[in-house]
């Protein structure tokens, strides 16, 4: 189980996270917390001139390898995409990218970053968070 979970690509993102840092004066930002394990993730987004294309994404936080690696992979996926499109991105798209078997508890670790990104984008666009995130109500998304 653990050998599958900590495969090379996860360890690479964990040890060399992409886009680690903070964007001052970000166009969208949010933070989230998993009370179960204390994982924390903050995400910062800046839009291109069109106010829609994602120009840059950064994240900061601390937590387990799964939450940090998943958020790093999400940053890679997010750049250059449209904010509205990304705000509707299904969980499975990220989970397929992560590509490891996750127990229900570790699923919350893996989806923390995506939840935070969605909160940031929906807040910036003034749209409500999709209903499917109600199932992750143990996560405190702000």
């Amino acid at each position: 189980m653990s050998d599958q979970m900590y495969r090379e690509v996860i360890l690479d993102h964990y040890k060399n996270p992409r886009g680690h840092g903070v964007i001052e004066d970000a166009d969208a930002e949010a933070e989230g917390f998993n009370p179960l394990c204390g994982d924390e993730v903050s995400i910062y987004v800046s839009f291109a001139e069109d106010g829609e294309t994602i120009e840059d994404v950064k994240f900061s936080g601390r937590g387990c390898a799964i939450s940090q690696a998943a958020t790093s992979m999400l940053v890679d996926m997010a750049k250059g995409r449209k904010a509205t499109d990304l705000a509707q991105m299904p969980k499975d798209e990220l989970l397929e990218e992560i590509g490891i078997p996750l127990t229900p508890i570790r699923l919350k670790c893996a989806l923390l970053g995506l939840g935070v990104l969605k909160v940031a984008l929906h807040r910036a666009k003034g749209t409500p968070l999709p209903q499917e995130w109600a199932g992750l109500d143990e996560l405190e998304l702000k």
């Binding site: 189980m1 653990s2 050998d3 979970m5 900590y6 360890l11 964990y14 179960l36 394990c37 204390g38 994982d39 601390r62 937590g63 387990c64 390898a65 799964i66 570790r106 670790c109």
Partner: protein, 414 residues
């Protein structure tokens, strides 16, 4: 010398009583180092419950037929066993509950709501499990009482020297403390706290959920007013625990749950309550679980509480020594002589969930998280820790497999 030597516990032999150890986890033998969360169950307890269901099951205190009488005898026999185990003056002072948490809620609601108010002080410790923390915090807020916390020293012991200053001019009404910390393994001086509480005219509420499985709990020697225990941590089933309380307090209290069995007389206008302990046992209780609770007490009493305590003391010493070999592991809590069989630790730079996940692949089960002690974790300045905890069936080989697993954790994640 020889005459005073206590029989030593043979954990390898005890292990044969526990069917779970025949299981392979990810193809590896099970190293179960999470007994502080819940213990495994011996064949004797499983058989007792199975036998009860097959030969003696009916609802209790109701029927006039033979089976109902057998069931009642089993249920009330378990109450007597719990009473003897705790050295209660009377088995009638033993109230069955779902678990230790519910036992504390009974006191917090049924005693606290009617006895606390503005100007009163409720004192808990920074070590407390949420079970003996959250109910008191809530009831204090509801009644306007002050909620205060007894601080810890650097080794995770209670700062008894801070008691008087902390109480100040307030009327201390409740002192609530665990017997053994489930996070740090600290053994608390409950007798001293109880004596101080009584000097102040307060009641002492002791959460013995983590104490009773591992050492003798004598409610009279402790001097507490209420003691909460649970079966599942002492080789018994989940779903059953007990509250022991002094009879005059139990008699003066309002009920907690309301419904069947706890009544004396019900009319359209009013209801009067039944006698203690029935007053606190509304509805059909966990009957077979109570029988299993009794069987579990018989089992650990047969092994011997002194022998269990000594065995865990040796394991804690062995575990601390082995972990001290790893400079990248930090342990928390008191030295061995004031510690039960619990070791909380962190691996440098690696989140406890990752540690526990990789150990799971080696068949090693430990707890990773805040252990229902978020105030304590905040005090330690960590979000979570790893915790290895031991019981009467724990062998040193399991600790060796933990240490080997930690090397693997480092290899993968550092």
């Amino acid at each position: 010398m020889a005459v005073t030597a206590r029989p030593k516990l043979d954990a390898q032999k005890q292990r044969a009583d526990f069917p779970i150890f025949n299981e392979l986890i990810h193809g590896k033998p099970l190293s179960f180092l999470d007994s502080a969360a819940s213990s495994q169950k011996p064949r004797q307890v499983l058989d007792a419950m199975q036998h009860f269901y097959e030969t003696s099951y009916a609802n209790v205190h109701r029927g006039v037929y033979e089976l109902a009488e057998r069931a009642t005898a089993g249920y009330e026999g378990a109450r007597e066993t719990v009473g003897r185990f705790l050295n209660a003056p009377s088995p009638r002072e033993v109230v069955f509950t779902r678990n230790a948490t519910e036992a504390i809620n009974v006191v917090a609601y049924a005693w606290g709501l009617n006895n606390l108010g503005p100007g009163d002080v409720v004192l808990v410790t920074e070590l407390e499990h949420h079970s003996n923390f959250v109910p008191w915090q809530y009831i204090a807020h509801r009644t306007g009482a002050d909620f205060r916390m007894l601080p810890l020293d650097d080794e995770g012991g209670l700062r008894l020297d801070a008691l008087d200053e902390l109480a100040g001019a307030g009327r201390v009404k409740v002192v609530a403390a665990g017997m053994v910390s489930n996070s740090l393994g600290s053994v608390n001086p409950v007798e001293k706290l109880a004596a101080w509480a009584h000097e102040r005219g307060a009641i002492m509420v002791c959460d013995a959920a983590q104490g009773a499985p591992h050492r003798v709990v004598d409610v009279q020697a402790l001097g507490a007013d209420f003691v909460a225990v649970t079966a599942h941590k002492l080789c018994g089933p989940s779903g059953i625990g007990a509250l022991w309380g002094r009879m005059e307090l139990l008699e003066a209290m309002e009920p907690f749950n309301l419904g069947g069995h706890m009544i004396s007389r019900v009319t359209f206008e009013d209801t009067s309550w039944g006698e203690v302990p029935a007053k606190f046992e509304a509805g059909t209780q966990a009957i077979a679980e109570a029988v299993g609770f009794g069987a579990a007490i018989d089992y650990i009493t047969e092994v011997g509480l002194d022998a269990i305590e000594q065995h865990e003391h040796e394991l804690a010493g062995y575990g601390l020594d082995r972990l001290a070999e790893l400079p990248w592991v930090k342990t928390y809590g008191p030295p061995t002589d004031r510690r039960a069989g619990i070791i909380s630790f962190n691996v440098d730079g690696i989140h406890p969930h990752d540690v526990a996940q990789i150990l799971d692949g080696e068949g090693v089960a430990i707890r990773a998280g805040h252990h229902c002690c978020q105030p304590l974790m905040a005090k330690l300045g960590v979000a979570a820790t790893n915790r290895a905890s031991f019981y009467l069936y724990t062998v040193t080989e399991e600790i060796d497999r933990l240490v080997a697993g930690l090397h693997k954790v480092r290899k993968i994640l550092s």
